[in-house]
Symmetry: D2
Subunit: 326 residues, 4 copies
């Protein structure tokens, strides 16, 4: 096949660095004299026939901006055969020879089904703050989100110390504990609760007591997907064990999704974007791009969808070693 | 009276810049060869007899740190005559000739009663993120909190734009709308709800509709003290008017209290701290220090307690002018 | 006169908050159904006939961006009668009924001459990081630049402390010491050199010696316009007095001009921009807008040009009080 | 041998994250009931007999602070046999059973010689912003420095765009181009000059011309060790080729060494610190700890000293692909 025109879309939750990735896709495409089409609002944009031509001007000065200039959405309609038929019909009309999908595993599933129903080369780039994708050490947006969380916890630590309070801080991550576990290490949190480990409330309460001796305040990081419930629920479960403690709860919320991407996220986003164009030029399809250390690695998009990724649980032992022992 | 020894405490909610203020109190005291005692945990520390000698080493490298190295608390016991007798007895024992109280109007009330019951020169320095104190344009911590809020809203804007969402962002401020109103201007928010203005839900819904045309997402800033309820309540009241909109809510919470103080907060904190020592040296009492523009002003601490301060409501008209008109 | 169309330009050095100001000018203009024209690259753009129509889309999402979307320049040609004739001819052609100039005193001089030679209502808005304009407590960009400097000095303090070094840090400010003096207070610098005070090298050396006792590193802030020369020159003059010290020099440079504007800069920029449109609507001309505390004030643009503004030198005494005394 | 007491020191240039690493060494030591001694000011502190006992209180609240609480220095005296004899004599007196050295390759060389002359188990942890150490993907401090550089270049981009200027930005990295090359990718710089590639001035000038078409300003990142000289020299060499361009130069300087460490630097610092204690407990010596992706790896300290590490030069091709093509 002679590659002449490619399309790119962002899908699922937005993540900082998506714009840096779009920029790299566009610039690498133009470098190799390919036309580059941007699809608005993820797969829904294919159904709604919303797209634009991407050129140098559009991606000028976006490398440092959070969010995605193409917009993103979670499309129910695309889960139906009718929806996808509309999408395929629009892709045909656009005459694109390849599609780059930047998003999480849900987006990869959509891409895979599309590729199965319409013979179009598809490359997936992992973009999600949750870092829960097999085949890559890090997803685009994760490093920025982690820094946002750690920066927020530093601020909360100021007030926790000043008031001798115990803060339960809920962070994002869907079903996985990547953000929570690593933010706990980076912020020097006294405890962390993640979905990958069963939460033991009495033990948590005991640990808070021990940790708090001689200290001015404690931080407990809670992954939103924890088995014991959300941060408020967990705080209320702990309360009876610690009647004399000033317990507080804060849910970091959507600030974790935005912000200027970190240097690392911009670098991997840029590298992955250019690589995706290269893979399409080489005639590949159904591949996912990932990072292993400083190396770019290629795996099947199917692995990205089906295989699980989970954080290194030996970090829980590390945290245990770092606890104040009295 | 011959001033030889002074004490300083921080009280009420902690605010960024309190440490810069303590540092200035200590350094100015030592410059004039006064001893300086730090009381821990606000007025409660007087009751619990917790204090330390403050010297250069203690305040080295704290100008840039959030929170308060002295700790702070809201003391119930100090509201009783017995509690205050313990506090006075400790002050006598410490032989301090003057007391500097850094905090909000509640703290000033405590200081005033103490000064009435025990003849001790007292100077109040306004330290609270809420900016709700009469007699000063700005309180210590307000500028930092405002920047933290604006930075957070910038991040939320990224994701609001990417997903075409309407975000209801709840910010601090207790009964006053300073943070909310000024953050709304600084972040380009589409609407703001503050306690000083009656909230009109149908009008808000209408405005969201108008603003959202051709735009990718809207931000509504909500002061925690708004008459229509908290952000979740307000969002739920708006929902029936906007069934097709993707409405989201986020409560910024305690990140607003912490963080490295801004340049402005460090400057006014430093100036006020040194000024407080000067006022004690001049034999003044029951005074509150404030800023008017770039000038330091002195008022009675009673004014700081009794008179109201509220944001400039003409800024609501300004916001109306800035709205997209369709 | 019936005001229908206004123009806005940014001139001189760029300053963070200029975009927030342009945005407010545009939005307030459209609110009052005025057309708004943007002139590119300051007065040079009038000569080169470069302009654009400013509407909601252009100023969407620029409130938080540093620099100026209109560009800026220092125009030699505009200093000639021929140059200005070209500019006037273009203004006539554009049929604008008023001009808003955002810039420093040099830009105001240009605006004033233009207003004298061509009968056009002109309003000046002080936009410069240097804060050296009479008639306003603060200029747009100053607060952001101050925060950038303080943040940089915090970083340099880390390495100064770790290595026991004395750092000479040169900051911007042209002929004035606003940034240097206030950054010195906010960063806890050991000394500051500003153009408004004669520099005494032996005294500086002596002070460094005293300050450094028991401390791990010192910071000397130097205004670029200091009478004793630039930071390298000053360091070399100090060196013979302190042969055993590890002296280092760093020039902060152009990072001081950029960056996302602070909350304060966005607020005053927004207020001033809307006010400028109001003044034109009221038929005023040759006025400059300023801030006094939290109040907007109006003065003649001539005062802004001719009268001097200088920092509060009592802050030097404050710094002296804050020095470690041994 | 029965491990009872260990010592830790930081050496060479300071790097953000060193404190997080010291904290982990201390906490892991105490967890395993080992005494932990901190040596001040690197190897010089061994000669000067300056040390302290490290306990929980000392490392409380330091994880987020730049610099090193132990101080660091480059010691000439330690390069002499006499100097090292003093150091060894102090180590004997302290009765430490193992030494952890956090620093760059120069520090590792010192550690190795010490370990050869005095039979003491030694573990090296790579701490330097330059990232130029074999055996690890990343050194402690590199990620923070990279983010500081990228943040600064974002700011400079604002003013470069506003004034249509070409900025030559010099960054740290000693003899290696890690920071420059990766910062160039992350900041969307138009060109980069690194020591690992011969600089071709006419080609650079040509590229600036091409890049600048239709763009508002360009950024050229220059590694301090580049073969064509420092940023000022290079700018002056380019000038004759581009007489009509507004060329500017800025040297980022020491801000690159300081600042709160990034999440990533805190995590690897913490992991490496705890690992170093583990290795000493296992009886290992002359090892260096490194990161490969998310995995901790162990190599001989000799490799860290003798083998070279250089950035992935295929990133230069990536940058070429990202250039605007006209």
């Amino acid at each position: 096949m002679n590659l002449k025109k490619i399309a790119v879309l962002t899908s699922g939750g937005d993540a900082p660095g998506m714009n840096a990735c779009i920029r790299a896709v566009v610039k690498a495409s133009l470098h190799f004299e390919l036309e580059c089409i941007g699809i608005y609002d993820g797969f829904q944009g294919l159904i709604d026939r919303k797209s634009c031509v991407l050129d140098y001007a559009v991606v000028n000065n976006v490398i440092q901006r959070g969010g995605t200039i193409l917009g993103t959405a979670r499309s129910q309609e695309f889960r139906t055969t009718e929806g996808r038929q509309k999408a395929i019909s629009y892709l045909k009309e656009l005459q694109v020879d390849g599609l780059i999908v930047i998003g999480g595993d849900g987006s990869f599933t959509g891409a895979k089904i599309l590729g199965d129903e319409y013979d179009l080369p598809i490359i997936g780039i992992p973009g999600t703050i949750d870092n829960d994708i097999y085949g890559t050490d890090h997803t685009i947006g994760y490093d920025t989100a982690l820094n946002t969380v750690v920066d927020a916890v530093d601020k909360i630590r100021d007030t926790a110390s000043s008031h001798h309070r115990v803060f339960f801080v809920e962070v994002m991550g869907r079903d996985s504990g990547f953000i929570a576990l690593n933010a706990a290490i980076a912020s020097g949190a006294e405890s962390v609760l993640i979905p990958e480990e069963l939460t033991d409330i009495p033990k948590l309460a005991e640990s808070i007591k021990t940790q708090n001796k001689g200290k001015r305040g404690s931080i407990i990081i809670i992954a939103e997907g924890d088995d014991a419930g959300d941060a408020v629920t967990i705080m209320n479960k702990v309360k009876p064990y610690l009647p004399d403690y000033d317990l507080r709860c804060t849910i970091l919320g959507h600030i974790q999704r935005g912000g200027n991407p970190s240097a690392y996220d911009r670098i991997i986003a840029t590298r992955m974007g250019a690589k995706a164009v290269e893979l399409l030029r080489e005639g590949m399809t159904d591949k996912m791009i990932g990072m292993q250390g400083d190396l770019i690695v290629i795996s099947s998009i199917e692995d990205g969808i089906k295989k699980e990724s989970s954080p290194d649980l030996s970090k829980l032992e590390l945290l245990a070693q770092l606890r104040t022992k009295k």
